[in-house]
C-alpha cells in the first residue's frame, strides 16, 4: 500500500498517454479531474492486488464515449457515485476498491479521481495493460468475468443498469445508450471479487505507468536518452524513426479509423512507415514488412522528449520514434488474439509477437 499524490498523478498521466498507443483520449482532462479531487479530498491509496481480500468487491470505473465530447462537456465528478450506490444496493455488498479497466489514455485517471472523492483505494491492476476501443477487450473477459451487472451514468443523474447475455451485447447496448446520454458517460462495470481480480487482471500497471512518466520527465535532468529510458522500462523495441507526412481519418461505425505516414530519417532514410489506427494504433508496417500489430503496443513518441503523441495530436513534420512494446501474455492466448488480434480489426495479418518480428528482421541482416 502506498499513497499517490499530485506528482504521481502527473507522472501516471504521461505514462498513460504512452500506453494509450495513440488513442484512449488525452489524459490531460482526466489528470485535472484527479488533481482537483486530490486537492479537495486528499491523497489516494494504492493497493497491490495481493492486499485485496478474496471476497471483497472491486468495481472498475471508466468513461465511455468520445474523448472529443469529454473535453467539451467536462464531467461533474459526481456521476459514478450514483452508479456505485446502485451497484452496491443491487449486489448487497460494500465496494472495497476500484481499478481502471484500461491503464492507457484518459481512463487511467477516472478511477483515481473517483477514489479520492469516495475515499476508497485503487488497486494497481487493470484489464488491458494498454488502451482498447471496446468494452469486451479486457482480460477479465478472457477469464469469463461478466461485464454486467453494470451501470452507465451521466452528469444529469441518470443511471442505467444493464444485465446482458454476453459482453458483446454489453458493448452494443452501452454504446447506444452513450449517444442518447450525451456522448460521454461514466461506467461502473465488471464488478468482481478479489480472487477474480487476482487471476484475471494485469498487475502493477499503475506503477508501470508512473515509472514511464518519471523516466520521461527525469531523462532531461539526468541527461539520458528518454527514448532509451522508456524502452528499458517497458521492454520495448524501436521500430522506426521518421517525420509525420500525412494523416487521414474517417469515421466508421463510431470509430475514428485512419492511417498516418512517416518518412524515415536517420538510419530509416528512404523508407516509409504506415500506421493504421482505430483510435489506437493497430498495425505498423513499411512497404516491405509488418513491424508490429495489436495486441502489442505501438506508440509514437516525440524524438527529442519521448513525450507520447496521440493520433489527434499528430503534427505534420513532427519528428517521432515509433516503438513496439510486447503486450501482456494474457493477450497472447487463442482467445486473447481472437478478441483483440489483427483479424478482429479487419486486417488479414497473423499475429506474431513484436519481439519475434524484430528478431526475424535482425536475423535477415
Amino acid at each position: 500500500m502506498r499513497k499517490l499524490d499530485i506528482q504521481s498523478i502527473e507522472d501516471i498521466a504521461i505514462g498513460a498517454a504512452l500506453l494509450g498507443t495513440g488513442g484512449g483520449g488525452d489524459p490531460y482532462i482526466g489528470k485535472l479531474m484527479a488533481i482537483q479531487a486530490v486537492e479537495e479530498f486528499g491523497p489516494i491509496t494504492l493497493l497491490e492486488a495481493d492486499e485485496v481480500p478474496d471476497d471483497a468487491l472491486v468495481v472498475p470505473t471508466a468513461m465511455m464515449g468520445a474523448p472529443t465530447v469529454m473535453v467539451e462537456k467536462v464531467p461533474s465528478g459526481e456521476e459514478v457515485i450514483g452508479a456505485f450506490n446502485t451497484l452496491k444496493n443491487y449486489l448487497g455488498q460494500e465496494i472495497y476498491a476500484t481499478i481502471p479497466i484500461e491503464a492507457g489514455g484518459v481512463n487511467s485517471m477516472i478511477p483515481l479521481a473517483l477514489a479520492a472523492r469516495l475515499g476508497i483505494p485503487v488497486v494497481d491492476t487493470d484489464g488491458m495493460g494498454r488502451a482498447f476501443p471496446e468494452l469486451q477487450m479486457v482480460t477479465f473477459h478472457l477469464n469469463d468475468v461478466s461485464a454486467t451487472p453494470m451501470v452507465i451514468c451521466d452528469e444529469k443523474g441518470n443511471n442505467l443498469m444493464l444485465n446482458t447475455v454476453d459482453n458483446v451485447w454489453t458493448e452494443k447496448l452501452a454504446r447506444s445508450a452513450t449517444v442518447v446520454m450525451g456522448g460521454s458517460v461514466m461506467l461502473a462495470i465488471y464488478p468482481m471479487k478479489g480472487n477474480q481480480l487476482k487471476s484475471a487482471g494485469i498487475h502493477g500497471i499503475i506503477t508501470l505507468t508512473e515509472e514511464i512518466g518519471k523516466a520521461i520527465r527525469g531523462a532531461k535532468a539526468k541527461k539520458v536518452d528518454p527514448i532509451k529510458a522508456v524502452l528499458d522500462i517497458t521492454g520495448g523495441y524501436e521500430l522506426f524513426r521518421g517525420k509525420i507526412s500525412d494523416v487521414s481519418r474517417r469515421t466508421v461505425g463510431g470509430f475514428a479509423r485512419g492511417e498516418s505516414k512517416l518518412i524515415g530519417i536517420d538510419s530509416y532514410k528512404g523508407k516509409t512507415l504506415t500506421l493504421n489506427f482505430q483510435n489506437e494504433h493497430l498495425i505498423a508496417r513499411t512497404e516491405e514488412e509488418v513491424l508490429a500489430t495489436v495486441p502489442d503496443l505501438i506508440a509514437v513518441l516525440d524524438s527529442e522528449t519521448a513525450h507520447p503523441i496521440t493520433t489527434e495530436g499528430l503534427r505534420y513534420g513532427a519528428r517521432c520514434v515509433v516503438i513496439g512494446i510486447p503486450c501482456n501474455s494474457k493477450w497472447r492466448t487463442e482467445k486473447g488474439i481472437a478478441t483483440v488480434g489483427p483479424r478482429y480489426f479487419g486486417y488479414d495479418i497473423d499475429y506474431i509477437p513484436v519481439e519475434e518480428r524484430v528478431m526475424n528482421k535482425r536475423g535477415d541482416k
Binding site: 479531474m33 482537483q36 472529443t68 467536462v74 465528478g77 444529469k156 469515421t251 461505425g253 463510431g254 483510435n279
Partner: protein, 516 residues
C-alpha cells in the same frame, strides 16, 4: 492616389511601410521597438513619412500588427477584472474555471468565477435549461467589481443560444459592460476555449488604449485613416472588432511575415523563413495563408486552443552572439537585439555577431568591413556552416514531404542565410524582404470563420460542407470583405471518435480583399 500604411511591431524592431493604391511599396522604415510599444509605433510612422513626400490626406487606411496584448498578458499588467461565468451545470464541476492558471495572473484578473446551469450536448440538445436567475444574481454580485465578463457555455460551438441569452441578461443588469462570448473566440475544448475567452475579456481595455494611441499617433502626423488591426490568421479586423476580440491580435507578427512573403513573391505554397534580430521563425505557407498549429498553445502560462500559426522558432538572428570556447563555436541563443548597430563589430562594437561573420566572409556588405578583416577565416567558415545547418534543420522539420519546396527568406536578419539551402527547390529573397511583416500587415485580407459539429447522417457530407462554407462566407462579408473576392481558404473536418451517427467537426475559413 490613395495610400495605406502598414505597421508591424516585432520583438526587436517596429517596421512601417506605405503602399500605394496598387499595393506597391513606396516607402519603408525600421526603428527599435520601445518598452511601451506605442512610442515605437509613433517613431516608425514619423520616420516612414519622412522617407517620401505623400499627401497625408490621401492615406486612407492604416493597419497595425502589435504586441500590446501579448505583453499585457505576459507582464500581468493593465488587465481588466473579469467575471468568469461557465454555463454547464450539472456537468463540468470536476474541473473548476481558471484551473492551471499561474497564481499571479489569476489575481491580476480578479479570480472570480461562477458555474451555472445550462449548456448543450454535442448534438444541440440542452444539458439543462439556462439558469437565468443565477446569471442575474451574478450580475448583481459583480457590479462595480468586474469591468469585463467572460461567458463560456458547454458546446457553444454547436449552439450559441445560452451564451447569447446570458449576455443579454448581463447587459440588462450591468449596462454597457464588455462581454466576451466563447463561441466567438475558440473551438471545441471547454477549458482551453474558456481560458482564451477569459484572456480576451481581460484585454478589452488594453485594446481600447492601443487603438486610441494609434489613432492619436496618426492624427499627430495629420493622417485621418480608417484603422485596422492585424489578426493572427493573417486577416484584418476593424477597431470595433479588435476591441471586442483583442486576443485575436496575439501572434499576428509571424503571420504578417508569412503573408507578406507570399505577397512579395506571388507564391502560395512555400516555407517562409523570417530572420529577425533575435530569432528565426519558420512557418508554412499553404494556399496563401499560414498553416495553423494543431496542438494546444500556451499564452502567458495559460493553455488555450486558440488558433495560432504553426511555427518553429530558434535562437538565430542577425544579432545572435557568436562565441569561441573550449567546446568549440557556439551560436546564441542570446542576441544583442536592436543594439546590433552599436554592439556588432562592423558597427564599431565589441560583440561578435552572426552579421559580423557574414560580412567578414564577404557574403553581405554591412557597416565597416575593415573592422572584421582580421578574424580567423577557419573560424568564420565553421561558424557560417553552423548557421546554415541550423536553418536547414528547421526547414527540414517543417516540411511535410521529402520533395524540395520553395523557401522564402524575409526579415532584416535574413542576410545571414545563403541563396541555397538543402531541401529547398529555390531560395527567394524578394525586394523589401526586410519589411515583409509590415507589408503583410498592410495587405491583409478580411476573413470569416466558423467551426461547428455537423451530423453527416442528416445533411450528408456535401450538404454539411456547403452549409459550413456559406456560413463562413457570410461571416467574412460581415467583417468587411468584398464579396466578389471571397474564397474559401481553409477546410478542416475531424470526425468525433468513439461515437456512432457520423458527427463531424467542420471548420471553414473564408477570406477576401478589404472592400474599399
Amino acid at each position: 492616389m490613395s495610400y495605406r500604411i502598414g505597421i508591424d511591431v516585432g520583438g526587436t524592431n517596429t517596421d512601417a511601410v506605405i503602399l500605394d493604391k496598387n499595393l506597391v511599396p513606396i516607402a519603408k522604415a525600421k526603428t527599435p521597438t520601445t518598452a511601451d510599444v506605442t512610442s515605437g509605433i509613433y517613431n516608425a510612422i514619423s520616420l516612414v513619412l519622412n522617407q517620401k513626400e505623400v499627401d497625408r490626406s490621401e492615406i486612407k487606411y492604416a493597419m497595425l500588427g502589435t504586441t500590446h496584448c501579448t505583453n499585457a498578458v505576459v507582464e500581468r499588467k493593465r488587465l481588466n477584472k473579469v467575471a468568469v461565468i461557465r454555463i454547464g451545470l450539472p456537468a463540468t464541476g470536476a474541473i473548476k474555471p481558471l484551473t492551471g492558471w499561474p497564481q499571479d495572473l489569476k489575481e491580476a484578473i480578479g479570480n472570480m468565477y461562477f458555474l451555472v446551469g445550462g449548456g448543450h450536448e454535442f448534438d444541440g440538445r440542452e444539458i439543462a435549461p439556462l439558469d437565468e436567475k443565477a446569471i442575474r444574481d451574478i450580475a448583481k454580485q459583480v457590479k462595480g467589481v468586474a469591468d469585463s465578463v467572460a461567458i463560456t457555455s458547454v458546446f457553444a460551438p454547436v449552439s450559441t443560444d445560452h451564451e447569447k441569452r446570458a449576455a443579454e441578461i448581463i447587459k440588462e443588469e450591468l449596462g454597457d459592460i464588455p462581454v466576451s462570448l466563447s463561441h466567438e473566440i475558440g473551438s471545441i475544448g471547454l477549458l482551453e476555449r474558456e481560458n482564451a475567452t477569459v484572456l480576451n475579456a481581460a484585454l478589452v481595455d488594453v485594446a481600447r488604449t492601443t487603438a486610441e494611441g494609434f489613432k492619436d499617433a496618426l492624427a499627430r502626423e495629420g493622417i485621418d485613416a480608417k484603422i485596422y488591426f492585424g489578426q493572427n490568421d493573417g486577416t484584418l479586423m476593424s477597431v470595433d472588432y479588435a476591441v471586442r476580440y483583442p486576443i485575436l491580435t496575439i501572434a499576428c507578427g509571424p503571420t504578417n511575415s508569412i503573408r507578406g512573403a507570399s505577397f512579395l513573391t506571388k507564391h502560395k505554397n512555400a516555407l517562409v523563413v523570417d530572420v529577425g534580430g533575435t530569432t528565426t521563425d519558420v512557418g508554412v505557407l499553404v494556399n496563401g495563408f499560414p498553416r495553423q498549429s494543431s496542438i494546444a498553445v500556451e499564452i502567458g502560462g495559460v493553455r488555450t486552443n486558440f488558433r495560432m500559426p504553426d511555427l518553429i522558432s530558434i535562437g538565430l538572428g542577425g544579432g545572435t552572439v557568436v562565441r569561441e570556447g573550449s567546446e568549440g563555436i557556439t551560436i546564441g541563443p542570446d542576441s544583442v537585439g536592436y543594439r546590433i548597430t552599436e554592439a556588432g563589430l562592423v558597427f564599431g562594437g565589441n560583440t561578435l555577431t552572426t552579421t559580423d561573420v557574414v560580412t567578414a566572409l564577404g557574403k553581405a556588405a554591412i557597416g565597416d568591413v575593415t573592422k572584421v578583416k582580421d578574424l580567423n577565416q577557419d573560424m568564420l567558415k565553421q561558424t557560417y556552416k553552423k548557421i546554415v545547418s541550423m536553418a536547414e534543420e528547421v526547414v527540414d522539420r517543417m516540411k511535410t514531404s521529402s520533395e524540395p519546396i520553395p523557401v522564402i527568406l524575409v526579415g532584416g536578419g535574413s542576410v545571414i542565410l545563403p541563396d541555397e539551402l538543402v531541401g529547398a527547390s529555390e531560395v527567394l529573397r524578394p525586394e523589401h524582404y526586410d519589411v515583409a511583416n509590415a507589408i503583410g500587415s498592410a495587405i491583409a485580407q478580411v476573413s470569416g470563420q466558423i467551426e461547428r459539429v455537423f451530423s453527416i447522417d442528416e445533411l450528408g457530407r456535401e450538404g454539411a460542407l456547403k452549409m459550413a462554407k456559406d456560413m463562413a462566407i457570410e461571416e467574412a462579408v460581415k467583417a468587411g470583405a468584398d464579396p466578389a473576392t471571397i474564397e474559401i481558404v481553409e477546410i478542416d473536418d475531424v470526425p468525433l471518435a468513439y461515437m456512432p451517427g457520423n458527427a463531424t467537426k467542420i471548420r471553414v475559413k473564408a477570406a477576401g480583399n478589404l472592400a474599399v
